[in-house]
């Protein structure tokens, strides 16, 4: 009769291994797979709207089609960094200080960095067409670059080593300071002279003069990229949970080995 403990991958019986190999391993679930399919379909529709069906701009012509990826990515990046700050505050303020908040904060920041990078690159390409240059050191571009560098620094701080709780605490403090850059970036075009145009929609002083389908495509892009963010966040924070579990187990094994050597 086989008396191997159940559940541990190294000691399971052949039958249990077969059952586990049939069951899907990874960070996906039925819900995330369905969300993934929806996101892919929405991306295809967004591409159709942005590249084909929406009208060209009166002044910028077809270059406005870059807006449908440039604007949603920076807005989702703002949201990602704000979520990082909220999770960080929640982690610091909670009595139990669940590391799950820290992992969501870290995952959100990483995705935010990706989207800021995309926004900077697409903005640079758009600038080449409209301003004749890939880069100028104006307020909006410079502050956005600072935002990118700050959060790359945040990700580096998370990798400095130490216990998971030390990582969580120092990262949380940094996140709460870094988030203050977001209003600086967003209002930079109003506070200082900037080549970058002011907000076309999220501006209480501006009349929204976008064509109907252009406006719909822009908001559709915001929704699509937000769902992309949600999908990525679900997967990435689960990956971080697995990394923490594996590193904790490795530490436990190392401690046990030292104890056995000492005996």
């Amino acid at each position: 009769m086989n008396s191997s403990p159940v559940g541990h991958p190294d000691t399971a019986t052949a039958g249990q291994l077969d059952a586990r190999s049939v069951r899907h391993r990874g960070t996906g679930t039925v819900a995330t797979r369905r969300l993934g399919v929806i996101v892919i379909l929405m991306m295809i529709l967004l591409a159709g709207l942005g590249l084909v069906f929406s009208a060209e701009d009166v002044v910028q012509g077809s270059t406005v089609r870059i807006m449908y990826v440039h604007v949603p990515t920076i807005w989702v990046a703002y949201m990602a960094f704000a979520l990082t700050a909220v999770c960080s505050a929640t982690y610091l303020s909670g009595r139990q200080r669940s590391l799950a908040w820290d992992r969501v904060a870290g995952a959100s920041a990483e995705i935010g960095v990706l989207f800021v990078a995309i926004s900077l690159v697409t903005g640079s390409l758009w600038g080449r067409l409209t301003w004749g240059t890939y880069w100028v050191w104006d307020a909006r571009l410079t502050t956005t670059l600072f935002l990118f560098i700050t959060y790359v620094g945040y990700l580096a701080v998370r990798r400095l080593g130490g216990t998971h709780r030390q990582r969580a605490r120092r990262s949380a403090v940094m996140a709460l300071l870094a988030v203050l850059e977001i209003p600086l970036v967003h209002f930079s075009v109003e506070l200082w002279r900037s080549l970058h145009q002011e907000a076309s929609v999220a501006n209480p002083n501006a009349r929204v003069e976008l064509d109907g389908l252009m406006l719909f495509s822009l908001f559709f892009g915001l929704v699509t990229f937000t769902l992309v963010f949600v999908w990525l966040l679900l997967h990435r924070q689960r990956v971080l949970a697995l990394e923490d579990a594996v590193s904790s187990r490795g530490l436990d094994v190392a401690i046990e080995q030292r104890r056995s050597e000492a005996i």
Partner: protein, 44 residues
Amino acid sequence: MEHASFILLSWALSLGGTALYAWWVVRRGSQLSEHATDEEMPWT
């Protein structure tokens, strides 16, 4: 479409960059889950 190369490059970098990151995350998750126990994967 005027300036098609720049516009399509913007879209390709946006969607391609996102897809590449998504692929890396899922792959990393699959690799780590090979060594994880059921308790460490509560979402399954």
